[in-house]
Structure formats: structure tokens, C-alpha cells
């Protein structure tokens, strides 16, 4: 016995993929932002280490990001030890393969802002819009002892 509902003023319809039950979204508002990453990174002097701890230079930190105009990187750093960050980005084809080797460096190695036990925020890209497919976000200790960096990245459409 199919489930039927009043599709409009006079038409009864069976529930199906084509004619699903009408629903009203409750307790949810469209939010143009998604949580993309939460990570705890041990910041070391290793070269090319990204937020996920990977030193494989071709591996993105985030993929499939074309829908996002910006990435907003929030972080809490446990130390003020000298650190740089670098942001790489690139586009892919419809199969997800990078259009070419290597990366576009959209933020060159830059001192990571913030004191010990401080909250900070960086927009990626810093200016204009993103819409890149892949990003690689690297952090590197340039002086002092390794420490913990806790990050959250939100994608904004």
C-alpha cells in the first residue's frame, strides 16, 4: 500500500523519489560556512610539514574546496617560538587531478602571528577570492622549541 499525500489542491501523489513528502526544515538555518578541519599539530623545524603532519609535498591538506570563496584559519598556539607558515594552492581537472605539478604559492613563508597561548585568525587567500581545489598549509619552526598548534579551518562560500 503506497503512502500518498496531497501534492497540491487536488492531486494525490504516491511517495517516491520523484515526489517526496514535502518537509519543512526545522531548527536549521542555511549557513554559508562548513567546518573543514580540526587538527593538533606539533610544530617542528622539519621542512614542508603541513597541518596534518605530512611532509609529502604533493599531498594537499584540503581537497575539493572549489565551492569555498575563503578559508578561515583559526588557531591557538602554545608557544611564541619563531614560526613561519606558507600556503600553497592549485586547481584540478574534472577528475580531481592537479592541472600540473607543484603549487601556486599564495602566501609565501611568513612569520606566524601570535604570542604564546594566543588566539589568531588568518584568511586564505588574504585578499580576493579563493575557489582553488586544493590547499596545502605548512608550518615550520625557525627558532626555539617545538610546540603544539591547534587549528580549525572553516570554508566560507
Amino acid at each position: 500500500m503506497p503512502v500518498r499525500f496531497l501534492r497540491n489542491a487536488s492531486e494525490l501523489a504516491d511517495v517516491s523519489w520523484e515526489t517526496p513528502l514535502p518537509v519543512q526544515v526545522a531548527n536549521a538555518k542555511p549557513v554559508p560556512a562548513d567546518t573543514l578541519l580540526v587538527a593538533t599539530t606539533t610544530v617542528t623545524a622539519d621542512a614542508n610539514r603541513d597541518l596534518l603532519g605530512s611532509a609529502a609535498t604533493e599531498l594537499p591538506t584540503l581537497d575539493g574546496c572549489m565551492q569555498y570563496r575563503k578559508l578561515v584559519w583559526f588557531y591557538f598556539r602554545a608557544s611564541a617560538a619563531d614560526t613561519t607558515y606558507r600556503v600553497l594552492a592549485r586547481a584540478t581537472d574534472q577528475n580531481g587531478a592537479p592541472l600540473g605539478a607543484g603549487w601556486q604559492e599564495i602566501a609565501p613563508a611568513t612569520p606566524l602571528p601570535g604570542e604564546a597561548n594566543s588566539w589568531n585568525r588568518i584568511e586564505i587567500p588574504a585578499t580576493t577570492d579563493g575557489y582553488y581545489d586544493q590547499y596545502r598549509i605548512e608550518v615550520r619552526l625557525t627558532a626555539g622549541n617545538s610546540y603544539t598548534l591547534t587549528s580549525k579551518i572553516v570554508g566560507v562560500r
Binding site: 531548527n27 536549521a28 562548513d34 593538533t40 596534518l52 584540503l62
Partner: protein, 704 residues
């Protein structure tokens, strides 16, 4: 026919939002009208135009409503105007006219405005209060002392009143303040000759239930004991119907900011609406909760109750409460202290009372008798129990960043020796942006609400039982909640969430946060009771503003204990810290009229009894009607002041003494019986329901 009322107020600056919150909860449509001044010369601004208060146009406008409510009141009888514009409406008495509800109305003899006085009905039977002749025009209520807090705005400092409703033949404790002067509450004085004439005059209107023009609705209830010398003359009234106008005590606080559960007088709003024939779309479910239904406290002075005595008090009281719930078709839901099977050696808690070898066999047997009532009540639906865990870290869910030395259960999915996640992974990436080949071998999908992340490099428990548990993750929440439910099952309960209600009252009202709500949903919960700050003392998280998270309810809480700290020493206890007795906790010792007279005047105990019941009944009713929340008390903490040999006796002043030679008082029996009287008085507005009814109703009227 849609119920619809009109609220008339002088301005929105001090308009208590609870007026409209209650109406929304009841499904009663409302319109706000603003008077441009306080005098008879005011204009009434309505959505359909601005009308003179005496105009036929306004009268016609009002006729679309079931009732017109006058919202303003004052604590100054010397004021010369407040709602003078309403005097014309007392003469609009045709069957087509609506009912007019006046709450603590200002009709003082100090009003000199000639248009008011010349239009005031000459046959109106309540004597107009005269600030120059208080004794000749009003009756001082509740001992006649000045209040410890400003009357009409405080959330404690309630005044006592036991009111008799002659038509219903019901007595109830409801705070009743007809007039106020110098911070003293008063009842009204009736002109008996005028009343007699009205009471014998035929009058036809849908609200005239006796078919007469005048009707006494409520009077101070006569004492039930010779000790209680607080009596009132026969011409003293608390509420009166004059034709289609209802003269009622204050209904809501004169405050703007409290559309919540702190409106102590709102009984009178509900009663007035019912009398006015306003049939709400929805009735409100009344229900009671307890925390720690089986627990023991100290055995020392002043009561020196042995553990077996305490268990006897609980057994008798729970047997009575279970029977009460059965007869009223309600469910008293209980937050049962768990965690003590694994994480606490406190022999006052549930598991240890039943099974600890530190307890004597007689003590364990006595506790088991209480426990069996709860289990049987859970299975039949009268006393359903849910998890309530004070043993995690600091207190309740996510009360600290880490639960040091956490001890978990054995078996099931998250118990020892299973090696399970205990914190979020070092890396967490949303699946739609997760690069191929990045995730670690231990990757797993974790969803909390709308957010789904792939986690890897996840800290795990190992095979051991004891470890430091980071408290702020869904993994921790799962371990904790499963251990709690395992303990409930071991105690003989079929579940840990109050049976079909799928609810529990959280320990310390800490519901944790999204990760705990997610885990609770996974274990089948529909909602929990929660404070606005839901992980005190860590204080990193508040509940969602609408208290409804992805279909999960975060029900507001309200404590109804008769004590502020430790266990209660009674209604009042001389020389004890204020927080150890009810009078001190709720600041009910107005002008010292209880403390100064406690040992010399028996009436002081009755005064304390009335005030405590009025204060706590009002908190309960506010929680029911405004916040749609859960009110609760801690049984043994509140029941220590009973007489162990006469546990279920009703309060009778100094005629029944407890073990400390103070007046016996059973908080459970008194609270429930008094609320039952209120429910019987308000059959159109209240019914004994369950927490399921509360959550259903929240969904109905609060939306998404």
C-alpha cells in the same frame, strides 16, 4: 473559535514579556494596546485605530476578544492615576462585551480625577483602598509585616497565603497580593451590603457562572489549627467578580526582563483567563522530577537519623509518591545517581547503599526496599529513572577538561578491555575535502550534529580500566554514558532514560555540550534537563538559544528544594545558617516575623509553612507555564525534617514534632498535594502530564 485576548498597558518599557510568553504557550492569540496616559483622558492605541477609552468604537473593538486584560499595577496607593481610563469599561456589562481582568488594580481613593470618580460604579462592592485609612479600607495579609524585598519585583521573598475558592471548595497556597502599600501586602475589604445586593441580582453573561451580578471568588482560607491565629474577618476577600469584571490579585511581576520561570503570581492570570471563559488551544502539562531518589546523608545532630531511619522516610514517601503518580496519571522522573559502581566510594550514594560492605545488612535491606519501589515504578511508568552522574571529573557532563583517574565499566562496546577512542583524533577533516591518501589507518567517521569529520591518529584507552579521560569529545561521552546505562541495567532497570520518555535530569544540570547531546541521541535519549551554562564549573559551553538541538531537547531546570545547602533542617531552624532552612533560603522572614516569634508564637510556624509552599508552588507553576521546564527536588535532602514515625502526616504546626523537636514537614507530600489543588482549580489550563508531554509541547509551541 480561536481564543483571543487583548492586553492593555501603559508602555512597553516595563512590560513583562511573560504575559505574552504564557499566552503563546497556551495557544491564545493576543493583541497589545497601549494607553497614551494613565488618566481618563488617555487614548487607547489599537491596531485598528486610536480610540477614546469611553468611546463606542473602543467598546466595539473590544467585543472581538474573549477577555481584556489590564496589565498595570503599582505598589503605591497614593498614586492619583494608573489605569484611570479603564473606569468606563466597568460599565460595559452587556452579554456581547468581553470579560475584563483586573490584576492588583489601582482604584485607590487617592484618585482625585473627577471623571474617574463620577464613572466609578456606585454599586461596586469592594471598598476602595485609602492610603490615609489603610486599616479602615484594607486587611493586612500574611502577618502584615513589610517584605524583606520589594514586593512585586523580587524572585524570592514570597508572601504566604492559603486561599479558599468557595465555588470549587478547594484550598490552595498561591501568592495573593491584592494591594500593596509600604511594602506590605493587603487583601480587600468587601462592602457586604452592596455585595448582598449584587449577589441577589440576576445577571446574564457567559462569565457569570452563578447567574448573579456579584460573586466572591476567593477568600483567605480559615485556619485548620488553633495554633494558627492568622485569621481574617468575614468581609475580607481575595478575588471578586463584579458583573463581567474580575478583581484579582497581582498576576505578574512589574519587570521587563523575566519572561522565564520566576513569575510568582501567575496562578491568578491562569485562573482569571479560565474564569473569563478563554479556552486555550493547549493545556499545560504539570510534572515533577527528583534528583537522587535514593541517597543517605549525615546521621548527626539535630535529627540523628540513622541510615535505616532515613531509608524508612524515603520508603514511605516514595510509596506515597508512586501512588500519587499512579492516581494522577503523571510520572515523577528521577535522576538516579550512577557512577558509584565504578567511580565513587561514597557510601551515601545509590549503588553503595545497596551493595557496599561498609553498610550493615539492615541498612542495605532498608535501601533495597526503596530501590525496589523505584524499579517497580520505573517499569509501570510512575517513577521512571534515568542516569545522573556526579562522578565524572568535577561534576556532571564535561564539568572539567579532563576526568583524572576515570574508571570505566567492563564489557559492552566501550568498556574494558576494549581499546576505544577517548578523545578526538589529532587530525579531523571533513570528508568532502579530505585528500586521498592522507588519512591514517585508524581513520573513522565521526558525526556531531550537522558536522561530519574523518578523524585519525585518535588517542585510545588501551585495555585498562582506569585512565585520564579528556572530557570534551563524543568518544568520552560515549564511554561515560554507556557506563552509566550499564550500571542502571545492573541495578535492575531496563534502561537508563526513564523508559519511554527517553529523558533524564543531568547531574548538576550539566548537559555537557554538542558531543554529549550527540552521544545521548545515539543511546536513544530525546532530551535532558540542562542549565543555560551546561558545563559548570568548566564554563566553556552554553546551550543553544532555543534549547532544541537537532531534535534534542535541553529542558530548563528549576530547583524546588526547601534548603540551599546540605540537607534541610526544616521550614525554619533557630540560629542555623540561612541556607540550611527554607525560610532563610528563600528570604521569607519578613521583618523578622518568623525568626523573632518562632519559639514564642505557634503562628510563626504556620506563617513559614504558607510562605514556603507559596514560594515553591509559584516557582513550579512558573516553570510549567512560562519556561516549559522541569522542576525538581532532592528527596532525602528535603525530607529529613519529617517525623520518622509519622512520615506522611500533613503539616500540623507544633502538634507533630520531628526528631529535632521542630514542626514536622514532608516536602514531597505537601508540594504534590498543593499542586494537585492548583491543577484541580485550573482544569481548562493544567493537567497532570509527563516530561514527554512537556517535550511534545515545546515542539508544538516553540517551533524549530
Amino acid at each position: 473559535m480561536q481564543p483571543k485576548v487583548c492586553l492593555v498597558l501603559n508602555n512597553l518599557g516595563n512590560f513583562n514579556r511573560a504575559w505574552t510568553q504564557i499566552l503563546r504557550n497556551l495557544g491564545i492569540d493576543y493583541t497589545l494596546c497601549i494607553a497614551t496616559s494613565t488618566t481618563t483622558g488617555a487614548n487607547i492605541q489599537t491596531p485598528q485605530g486610536v480610540f477614546s477609552p469611553s468611546s463606542p468604537d473602543l467598546r466595539g473593538y473590544f467585543r472581538q476578544f474573549d477577555a481584556v486584560i489590564l496589565c498595570e499595577n503599582t505598589n503605591n496607593l497614593a498614586s492619583t492615576s494608573l489605569i484611570n481610563y479603564s473606569v468606563f469599561w466597568m460599565g460595559w456589562n452587556d452579554p456581547e462585551d468581553p470579560a475584563f481582568l483586573f490584576f492588583n488594580p489601582h482604584f485607590s481613593a487617592a484618585i482625585g480625577e473627577s471623571a474617574y470618580n463620577s464613572n466609578f460604579p456606585s454599586d461596586f462592592p469592594i471598598v476602595r483602598p485609602n492610603p490615609s485609612d489603610i486599616a479602615g479600607t484594607l486587611y493586612a495579609a500574611d502577618g502584615g509585616t513589610a517584605s524583606s524585598l520589594v514586593l512585586g519585583i523580587g524572585i524570592t521573598g514570597g508572601r504566604g497565603a492559603c486561599v479558599l475558592f468557595p465555588a470549587e471548595n478547594i484550598r490552595a497556597h498561591v501568592i495573593s497580593i491584592c494591594s500593596v502599600q509600604s511594602n506590605i501586602p493587603y487583601y480587600w475589604k468587601l462592602d457586604t451590603a452592596k455585595h448582598s445586593t449584587l449577589a441577589s441580582t440576576t445577571y446574564t453573561h457567559r462569565v457569570a457562572r452563578n447567574g448573579r451580578a456579584g460573586e466572591i471568588l476567593a477568600v483567605p482560607a480559615p485556619p485548620t489549627s488553633s495554633e494558627d491565629t492568622e485569621t481574617y474577618p468575614a468581609d475580607c476577600v481575595v478575588a471578586y467578580r463584579y458583573r463581567n469584571s474580575f478583581w484579582l490579585p497581582a498576576a505578574l511581576h512589574r519587570r521587563q526582563d523575566i519572561a522565564d520561570d520566576r513569575n510568582p503570581y501567575l496562578f491568578w492570570l491562569l485562573y482569571g483567563l479560565q474564569l473569563a471563559g478563554v479556552r486555550p488551544r493547549y493545556k499545560l502539562p504539570v510534572q515533577m522530577e527528583t534528583d537522587h531518589p535514593l541517597q543517605a546523608v549525615g546521621t548527626g545532630a539535630p535529627f540523628n537519623h540513622a541510615i535505616t531511619t532515613q531509608m524508612g522516610i524515603l520508603e514511605a514517601s516514595w510509596d506515597w509518591m508512586r501512588d500519587f503518580a499512579r492516581q494522577r496519571n503523571t510520572a515523577i522522573v528521577n535522576g538516579l545517581v550512577v557512577g558509584t559502581k565504578y567511580r565513587s566510594t561514597d557510601v551515601g550514594y545509590h549503588w553503595n547503599l545497596l551493595y557496599s560492605t561498609s553498610r550493615t545488612q539492615a541498612e542495605r535491606d532498608a535501601a533495597m526496599r526503596v530501590h525496589q519501589i523505584l524499579v517497580a515504578g520505573h517499569r509501570e511508568g510512575t517513577t521512571p529513572c534515568g542516569v545522573h552522574d556526579h562522578t565524572i571529573g568535577t561534576n556532571g557532563y564535561w564539568g572539567g577538561s579532563t576526568a583524572a583517574g576515570f574508571v570505566r565499566h567492563s564489557g559492552l562496546r566501550y568498556g574494558a578491555p576494549n581499546d576505544v577512542p577517548i578523545a578526538r583524533g589529532r587530525c579531523c577533516v571533513a570528508p568532502h575535502v579530505l585528500p586521498a591518501g592522507v588519512a591514517g589507518a585508524d581513520a573513522q567517521t565521526v558525526q556531531v550534529g550537522d558536522t561530519e569529520l574523518i578523524e585519525w591518529d585518535i588517542p585510545t584507552s588501551g585495555t585498562g580500566t582506569t585512565f585520564d579521560l579528556p572530557a570534551g569529545s563524543v568518544h568520552a561521552a560515549r564511554i561515560i554514558i554507556e557506563s552509566e546505562i550499564e550500571e542502571m541495567l545492573a541495578l535492575g532497570f531496563p534502561d537508563g532514560y526513564c523508559g519511554g520518555h527517553k529523558y533524564t535530569n543531568t547531574a548538576a544540570n550539566n548537559s555537557g555540550g554538542e558531543c554529549y547531546w550527540q552521544a545521548l541521541k545515539e543511546f536513544g535519549f530525546r532530551g535532558v534537563r540542562s542549565a543555560p551554562e551546561c558545563n559548570v564549573p568548566y564554563r566553556t559551553k552554553c546551550v543553544t538559544p532555543n534549547r532544541y538541538w537537532n531534535g534534542f531537547h535541553l529542558v530548563p531546570h528549576k530547583n524546588l528544594d526547601n534548603v540551599g545547602d546540605s540537607y534541610s533542617l526544616g521550614l525554619y531552624y533557630p540560629d542555623a545558617p540561612a541556607e540550611r532552612h527554607a525560610v532563610g533560603t528563600y528570604r521569607l522572614d519578613h521583618s523578622g516575623d518568623i525568626s523573632a516569634n518562632w519559639t514564642t508564637q505557634p503562628v510563626a510556624a504556620w506563617r513559614a509553612y504558607r510562605r514556603v509552599l507559596c514560594q515553591l508552588m509559584s516557582r513550579w507553576l512558573s516553570t510549567t507555564a512560562v519556561a516549559l521546564g522541569g522542576a525538581y527536588f532532592h528527596p532525602i535532602h528535603c525530607l529529613m525534617p519529617v517525623s520518622p514515625s509519622r512520615v506522611l502526616e500533613r503539616f500540623d504546626g507544633w502538634n507533630i514534632l520531628n526528631a529535632a523537636n521542630q514542626p514536622h514537614y514532608n516536602h514531597a507530600v505537601e508540594l504534590l498535594e498543593n499542586m494537585d489543588a492548583v491543577v484541580r482549580l485550573l482544569p481548562e489550563y493544567l493537567y497532570w502530564g509527563t516530561i514527554t508531554d512537556v517535550m511534545d509541547h515545546r515542539e508544538r509551541v516553540m517551533g524549530g
